[in-house]
Amino acid sequence: MSQLLYILYVFFLIYFLSISFIYILLLFFAFFGSVRRLYEAKFTDFDLLSKSYLTIPVSIIIPAFNEELGVVNAVYSALNSIYPEFEVIVVNDGSTDRTLSILKEEFDLKIEDIFYQRSLPTQRVRSIYRSDKYPNLMLIDKDNGGKADALNAGVNLARYRYIVNTDADSIFHRRGLLRISRIVNTDPGRIVAIGGQLRIGNGLDVEKGKVLYKRLPRQLVAKFQVVEYLGSFLGNRVGWSELNSVLVISGGFGMWRKDVVLELGGFTIETTHEDIEMTFRIHEFFRRRKIPYRILFLPDPIVWTEVPDTWRGIFMQRRRWQRVVNEVAWRFRRMFLNPRYGTTGVIGMFYLVVFESLGPFVELFSYVAVILSYIFGFLSLQLLLLFLVVSFGLTAVIRIASVFIEQYSFRTYPLRSLPRLFLIAFFENLGYHQYILLARFVAFFDFLRRRRTWERIERRGFREEYQRR
């Protein structure tokens, strides 16, 4: 039995080492990618880009379902973008709160009989509004059909070649769109989708969509996510982008070529989240037909987003995210280790299945096995502690390295925030990480039960004038 346990330990160790090796490799790619983008941005004439007739116009789509707390700021922040030509389309997805009335009042929205091409099927559109204050702001009021359905309604109305999807609780950086289109403009024929960094906005002071003051969030759960987001968005996704195998363009911010979205039949309502599914569908479509394409993920911070700040909220969110991972892994299983799909099939899908989909099982099992081994005397305290040091330490290495990339490239947080970020990186593994693992573990059973629900996560909105009124 003890030999069996030792083999298990070896297995766990190899598993942890290989996942850490992949993360560290991605971090290296991400570091060099970030530095390259940093220099590119440094020597880009943003002034020219912001005025040029040739900067690709975009349609920003903001789906909103019961988002009365954050939607006004989100819309203002999109409208405040420094960009030559763009439109903002808010889609009220059958909200039952004051989302519609607040927007109508704030932006002077008037009903307009716009007859748009219903290229993608959606739930019934009740009315279309246009703002008297901002001619490039429109609102679609429709029956509830979920985020993907709302996005499809927005795509139907969108006029421009590229569409941007974002959330109604996100705040755009003023130059966010320019930073993205700087890359798109170099190769609009091949770049079909592009994502950017989401930074955590809990704790920001925001007024009419403008960020007045940046600070780390107050709640511990949100603080953990600051470091976690740096790891997954900056470390992980930028790394994948260098391999042209971005696994997900986040629903928080993504720019898609409209013709490709239409060609693929729009965002699907068959999976819980539409973003990762669409990313994989694009990979599959282009790789199968051997059409050159690129899906990129930029290290540049593009939007601030509000994350759950309660333990219950984060549990529900991660459970849902993991369910989507499982759904996508199953839906695109034919790509698994299939050389026809290039790096996405061989490396990307392998990573998704082995480390993302099955990861929670192996990790939780390893914790349970190691602790039980210690309790029943098969493992010395010394070895148990060493195991934990290696396992926790490797995660901390990845997190701190991500903080380094952020500091080197964008310097978002001041020096005094660094000790706190390090502490968060260390302590993330003492409870938070395992809690998230549990949520991910439970998600597997949700997937088996084909659960599709999207639980409501309580929003607080950004701190600003609007709410004090």
């Binding site: 039995m1 003890s2 030999q3 069996l4 030792y6 083999i7 330990y9 070896v10 160790l13 220099y39 590119e40 440094k42 020597f43 004439d45 020219l48 880009l49 040029s52 007739y53 040739l54 900067t55 009903i111 307009e112 009989d113 716009i114 007859f115 091409q117 009315s127 279309i128 246009r130 006029r159 403009n185 170099t186 190769d187 609009p188 029943f376 005397g377 098969f378 010395s380 010394q382 070895l383 060493l386 195991f387 040091v389 290696v390 330490g393 490797l394 901390a396 290495v397 701190i400 390295a401 903080v403 380094f404 500091q407 080197y408 310097r411 020096l415 660094l418 390090f422």
Partner: protein, 464 residues
Amino acid sequence: MKILKKIKDEKSPDNPFLIITAVAGLTTDSFANFVLILALIVIGIIVFLVLLNVAQKIVGNYLERREQEMREEAATRIRLFLQAPNQPDHREALRSYLNHIDIIEMASEALSEVEQDKLRQLFIEIGAGHLLEQQARQARRKWQRVQALLLLGWLGSAENILVLKEALNDEDSDIGYAAAEALSRYNSEIAYRMLIDTLNDENLSRSRLAAFIESSRFKNVVPLLIDRADNSKPAVRFWIAYLLGRTHDPSALTLLSKMADDDSADVRASACEALGELGSKKASPVLQRKLRDSDWPVRSHVAKSIGKIGDDELIPDLLPLLHDPHWWVRQNVTLTLERFGKKSVPYLKELLRDRDRFTRNKAAELLGRLGIISAEISKLSGTESEAGAAHDFLVVVGQAEALRIIEDEALSSTNATIQSRLAAILGEIGSQRSLPVLEELHHSNISTVRRSANQAIERIRGAA
């Protein structure tokens, strides 16, 4: 516990698992040692990364502060130099920035063109061009080369133009773009010619190059563009036509009119778009003819351009394109009609009765956007004849499926006469979709509105 004891006893030399662990080189002790070493390595990396982070932050902050100070100091020295350009002390003070021309460039951003020219002249005299040329050719790091090229653009010296020409053809596109951007900062015919010729390059994005060409400081560009308009590559001709349009120079009209008949549909579309950019009604005959082009992208750009030149006499020619099979053509026609504003209203009113649903819808949409429908609704409270005419108009609008404005107004209006007449209109239009609105009006406090809504509901249900 007995079972556990039994499991513990299994640890004998004959146990097959031992063979596996032995093959892997992992006996109990060596395994523990291995984990220990690993843990130490991990701790070491963490300590290293933490120190690296802190060091990077401190050094980064210092460098940022230092750069800011240097910029402020440079701005002071530049000010002194501009006050007395011939004073040797002031010239000497700026000479120390020979290796930091980027600081000078940044510090000079707020200066006028004349002042910047004086500054550039000084740096050319003290050999900045030569130094930057060396960096642009020999720097080990690519981004240093990029920076040197961009600074050469700021300097704008004719002597350095060759190095930029070389860089345009560099294998690395970042170097090529930097050279193109630098050339666009030259106020020189030669630089402009080089830029146009770069459009032949297949490795660089032509749209990005066109953006640089368009932003060039050199202004007398039309003859140079005309000179290159017979390029054999359609993609180049496309961008030449685009650039000619962006000059807004009427002297490009003849050539663009000719290009509107190019073999390539892309070039024709670009030329038609450019004719619109010129904003001259002299382009009307060409645009009128091209409305019947066999390729839809051309028709779509023509529709847009007619709006830009503002020739309302072409509205009747534009209207048949509302039936075009291509959405973008129809869309651009409606945008142009909107641009013509009130002038297109009579035509739009006629189109409300068109046989094509899209055309009816679009006409109603535009009338709504132009404020005509709201104006007609307000006439419902006017004289009998006014109200009667408005009534008939709104029925036609509603039959074109533009019900929302009428319904919205019926619910939100504070005028009881308007509300009741709108209810009657909704009844006459007879759409089932209006029933929820009419039901709501049916609960109004005002008896005339209630009655009117009730009659409308009965009429719709009766018809169903």
